[in-house]
């Protein structure tokens, strides 16, 4: 009976509408080498080719992710330093592609965190005042939300855009103090005590705000992907 029912799959039926989060959840939930999401599949394939010393694969990876890495670096550093760090990140991928481990997350996560880490090293070694402290009036999260609402195509509900919007919304739901503390920690590479000093707030308040803000983001991502699976 089942076979009879399924055999009518062919010829093809019109495309079934699929909830956007679903595709991504499938992709993220697949840690076994399956390839449900073309974006992820292509990233993995590019990394494999980079290991085989294929320079065109590195260029393709750059085209795909450089803008995300640059955005992170620009949030932390001035423009010329940010450009240098982006170059360093992709050169590192070329020199040490084996450092990327599939089990630790997506390629984009790896690249943006690598960019953030390199930028943080620069910040700490330079001893310069944190750029993010000078951007106090610049609310990147609200700006992204506003930008998305202004330019977003309501019909373009691809999995990646859906996730971006979900994360941005989740961060926008934090109170301003939580978001500021997280941003100073993440993009300012500042310790709790440095943040407390910069904001003139008690250390305990800062710690609580960062903790609660990140827990909110984690729970929100759990709801997006389904608990227990995320890349």
């Amino acid at each position: 009976m089942i076979s009879v029912m399924i055999l009518d799959w062919i010829p093809l039926t019109p495309s079934t509408p699929v909830p956007p989060g679903w595709l991504l959840a499938l992709a993220r939930g697949d840690s076994s080498g399956g390839r449900p999401d073309p974006i992820e599949t292509d990233d993995g394939e590019l990394m494999r080719r980079i290991r085989d010393r294929d320079g065109t694969a590195l260029a393709a990876l750059y085209d795909r992710h450089a803008a995300a890495v640059f955005a992170v670096c620009l949030r932390m550093l001035d423009r010329s330093d940010a450009e240098e760090v982006v170059g360093d990140v992709f050169w590192h991928v070329w020199e040490r592609p084996e450092r990327y481990e599939v089990s630790r997350g997506s390629v984009q996560t790896y690249l943006t965190l690598l960019g953030r880490s390199r930028a943080a090293d620069r910040l700490r070694s330079s001893g310069r005042r944190r750029k993010i402290l000078d951007d106090a009036g610049h609310d990147a999260v609200r700006e992204t939300l506003h930008d998305g609402a202004r330019h977003g195509d309501p019909f373009d509900r691809t999995a990646g855009k859906e996730l971006r919007r979900h994360v941005t919304l989740a961060l926008s739901q934090l109170d301003a103090g939580q978001r500021q503390a997280i941003e100073l920690s993440f993009y300012g590479a500042m310790s709790h005590s440095e943040i407390a000093e910069a904001l003139g707030q008690p250390l305990g308040t800062v710690k609580t705000r960062i903790r609660q803000g990140l827990i909110h983001l984690r729970d929100s991502l759990d709801a997006f992907y389904g608990a227990g699976e995320r890349a």
């Binding site: 055999l7 390839r35 260029a59 995300a68 640059f70 050169w91 990147a140 227990g228």
Partner: protein
């Protein structure tokens, strides 16, 4: 402190926002090999990794890309550089001592440098191969832990997939954790496909929608494993099936049904 409590601390750990004492305590716990906290660490890294998504991407200037491409090209050229210079007229002008020196240098290259470089290449290749093996083993470890966790679940359901096509010996098991919504598919005796084809899992709902649930490959022994997390808002799955599809998968089934189960 319990591992559940450490889950929250792990967020601060990866944000580099713990006091030294707290960090050392977590370091020690992680070093003890606690699998749950290793999972929490991966989860926390992932949460932090999502923060940049809230930033609007900014295109770097084109010269940055050009510089990278040139650097890569130079690196590739350097690694395949010719060991001996082309013959030229300079030999005549410098006479015999120069020729002797050049020959000695050539001999040095041939006897010392070349074998060393060859050895280095072999070691590099070996290192790369070992790194791949480590990556594969790490992936298998993650999969094994995930399977053990699932088998320990009180909400586990099992379905047997039978052959639905020409591969009469093929079969599979679908483990469904109804609480976490993580489903794991194990297949056996499926023939490995060529590079242009792949196996794809499908869910069919009671209103006859065919939902693609990811692609997977099988090893030389015909064994495959695939895991998906089923969204909570997707209800009414009554059938799971596996077809063979073009590499990369299809949005709707086009290939032959290989395995099928009513759930």
């Amino acid at each position: 402190m319990t591992c559940d409590e450490r889950r929250d601390d792990m967020l601060l750990y990866v944000a580099d926002a713990l006091d030294r004492g707290e960090r050392q305590s977590l370091d020690a716990h992680l070093a003890s090999g606690c699998p749950r906290c290793a999972g929490h660490l991966v989860e926390a890294s992932s949460v932090l990794g999502h923060l940049p998504l809230a930033l609007a991407p900014v295109e770097p200037p084109p010269r940055l890309r050009e510089r990278l491409v040139q650097r890569v090209a130079a690196d590739r050229k350097r690694s395949s550089v010719t060991m001996f210079p082309a013959r030229g007229s300079w030999l005549i002008g410098w006479g015999r001592p120069a020729v002797t020196a050049a020959l000695a240098a050539g001999l040095l290259y041939a006897l010392v440098v070349l074998p060393l470089r060859e050895r280095q290449r072999a070691l590099d290749a070996e290192l790369t191969a070992q790194q791949r093996t480590i990556d594969e083993l790490r992936g298998e470890l993650v999969a094994a832990r995930s399977a053990i966790d699932m088998l320990a679940s009180r909400d586990l359901k099992l379905a047997l997939l039978a052959s639905g096509g020409p591969q009469a010996e093929a079969w599979g098991r679908l483990l469904r954790d109804e609480r976490s919504r993580v489903w794991q598919l194990y297949t056996f005796d499926l023939q490995p496909l060529g590079p242009d084809r792949t196996y794809e899992l499908w869910f069919i709902t009671d209103d006859d929608r065919k939902i693609p649930a990811g692609t997977f490959d099988v090893d030389a022994a015909g064994r495959g494993r695939h895991q998906v997390t089923v969204p909570r808002d997707l209800e009414g799955i009554v059938v799971a099936a596996v077809t063979d599809e073009p590499a990369g998968g299809s949005p709707q089934p086009t290939g032959q049904i290989q395995l099928v189960a009513r759930l």
